[in-house]
């Protein structure tokens, strides 16, 4: 459904001098600087997949999404989305994709959301009966009924995002680009949006490429993740392997009835408990060993927090 080969994007940005004098000087002598936002990126995504697209701020995630949606022209490289070259912005292509941006909105600010829905139905040239059915389905799934007739400017951020999603999906696109759809939302709204995305993916079979800085989104939604940093690919594979490879394994914590020894097999004492970080294959043996060696009061096995895994991965030099 999405095929990206050796994609590059270089921005030329004017170098502005510092302060008033610098600004004046840069009016006359424009120095430009080249910023490589995306470097040799390749990946492919099958129809119906839900993929998390991760990276630190400025990693090139949004730039990549915009190139895939046909909003930006790449400096070089190939990309095919739903069988189209996005740059041509073929109406048939635009009918098959959608882009939701958590930081920007398309809803008509002074009007109730239902009016944006009506406008989008017309702009996409949708069959009225079928579009109405989709709209009702979205209204029910996102629980929009009480919001439909209130002006957008009177809605909360979470309510607006739910309406944004509905407005972006009325044409039942096959590919969903979601750029931080949960940014700034409270926990309840985050959960609602997350549930909806999973549900919609299952119902419609649409392909989802999602960026988020909230690891809970990724953990709940994306079996597969693509990690980029500095515009280049760092990891592409199952989420669970990511933790295994970069997380330093699982954390096994054993609290003992009596005072814990300094060390015990793979365990080391930390804050009065025995702690070991192990690859998942070795966890069972270690637990077994501990149970036999000491009187155990409490035992826990923790996955490394995704945040830690990722910050390690982001920090790594390529």
């Amino acid at each position: 459904m999405i095929q990206v080969t050796a994609l590059n994007k270089v921005y030329t940005v004017p170098k502005r001098g510092e302060g008033l004098w610098g600004s004046l000087r840069s009016i006359f002598s424009r120095e430009v600087e080249e910023v490589r936002a995306v470097a040799d990126l390749s990946f492919s995504i099958q129809a119906g997949e839900r993929v998390g697209f991760l990276g630190p701020n400025g990693a090139g995630k949004t730039t990549t999404l915009k190139m895939l949606a046909g909003l930006l022209v790449p400096s070089s490289g190939e990309r095919v989305v739903a069988g189209f070259d996005p740059s041509k912005r073929d109406p048939a292509f635009l009918r098959r994709i959608t882009l939701v941006m958590g930081q920007k909105q398309q809803l008509l600010w002074d009007l109730p959301p239902i009016e944006t829905f009506a406008l989008n139905r017309a702009l996409f040239g949708l069959d009225e009966a079928q579009a109405k059915r989709t709209q009702d389905e979205l209204i029910q799934l996102l629980e929009l009924e009480p919001l439909l007739n209130r002006p957008v400017r009177n809605l909360s951020l979470g309510e607006r995002m739910k309406c944004e999603l509905a407005a972006a999906l009325l044409h039942r696109p096959d590919v969903l680009f979601l750029d931080e759809p949960t940014i700034g939302l409270d926990v309840r709204a985050q959960v609602a949006v997350r549930r909806f995305i999973a549900e919609w993916n299952e119902r419609s079979g649409a392909t989802v490429l999602l960026t988020s800085h909230y690891m809970a989104d990724i953990a709940a939604l994306c079996p597969r993740v693509i990690v980029i940093a500095g515009g280049a690919l760092r990891y592409d594979g199952p989420l669970k392997d990511l933790a295994e490879r970069y997380g330093g394994g699982r954390k096994v914590v054993v609290r003992t009835r009596d005072e814990a020894p300094e060390t015990l097999g793979p365990f080391v004492r930390e804050d009065g408990a025995l702690v070991a970080r192990l690859p998942s294959a070795e966890v069972a043996a270690a637990v077994d060993f501990a149970l036999r060696q000491v009187a155990v009061a409490d035992l826990s096995i923790e996955e490394p927090p995704l945040e830690d895994v990722l910050s390690k991965l982001f920090a790594e030099r390529s």
Binding site: L94, R95, K104, L111, A118, L123, G125
Partner: protein
């Protein structure tokens, strides 16, 4: 068909937005008539002193003002609100959503934010032109050619506007440029032949406001040479083509505000 549906939906959304702010049709109509009176007042002052001005009688000059009021109505109803909206879109990066719609983006930004109530000005302008046409005994041929020229003039205005909007992708804050177009148009309330030298040259060839107001009035008098009328239309088409190229080129340069 679907194009008509899209345009109607855009108009509807604009009308609903206007009505949210309780702008009243009656209020706008009163304003339009008052504004028309204010615009025509100088004519009465001038023609009180002399029967003709550079070969124009009061009624003929009134036709020029009528076309001027129509053009101004179009500017206020369609052009200005859209320009302000596009500049805002580009500045905030929401222009992305325009590009994601399967509708020609130039058409979309030309129609997506309008103030339909301001079209009342056009109705008043048509009234003024109608009065003047009756006074100069214009026949159906004159009326038709005047209408065609007016449309050519409006095409030209729209092309100028498109070029201004295209430049928004490079300079971002361009809404002030609309004041330049407006100031130019303002000069069009008098027949172009009243101006001399450089100003006349500019108003005919550079910012061809004369095409919007004076030429249709000439057509109404039955004094427009067919070749001039045809030439005016050719110019309008060329401007539209140039505007289209400027638009597509600048779209390619559009890099959208960062996330």
């Amino acid at each position: 068909m679907s194009l008509g549906v899209s345009i109607a939906a855009l108009m509807r959304a604009s009308l609903l937005t206007t009505m949210r702010y309780r702008a009243s049709f009656v209020g706008e109509a009163v304003m339009a008539v008052a504004w028309a009176a204010w615009t025509t007042a100088p004519l009465f002052v001038v023609f009180d002193q002399a029967p003709t001005l550079a070969g124009w009688t009061a009624d003929e000059a009134l036709a020029v003002v009528g076309f001027f009021i129509i053009a101004q109505g179009v500017l206020e109803a369609l052009v200005d609100p859209n320009l302000r909206a596009v500049v805002e879109h580009v500045r905030q990066g929401t222009f992305d959503f325009v590009l994601l719609k399967p509708l020609d983006a130039q058409l979309y930004v030309s129609l997506h934010r309008t103030e339909p109530l301001k079209l009342v000005h056009c109705l008043v302008g048509i009234g003024v032109v109608g009065y003047a046409a009756d006074a100069v005994n214009a026949g159906p041929v004159e009326l038709l050619s005047a209408t065609l020229l007016m449309l050519a003039g409006l095409t030209l205005l729209h092309s100028l506007w498109t070029v201004v909007v295209s430049s928004a992708f490079f300079f971002v804050k361009v809404d002030n440029l609309s004041w330049l177009i407006r100031a130019g148009l303002d000069a069009g309330r008098w027949p172009v032949s009243l101006y001399r030298g450089l100003v006349r040259f500019v108003l005919t060839f550079v910012l061809p406001i004369g095409l919007v107001t004076t030429y249709p009035a000439l057509a109404l008098r039955g004094e427009l040479k067919p070749s001039t009328g045809l030439g005016a239309m050719v110019i309008a088409v060329i401007f539209a083509g140039v505007a289209r190229i400027a638009w597509t080129q600048s779209l390619r340069r559009y890099s959208s505000a960062s996330s």
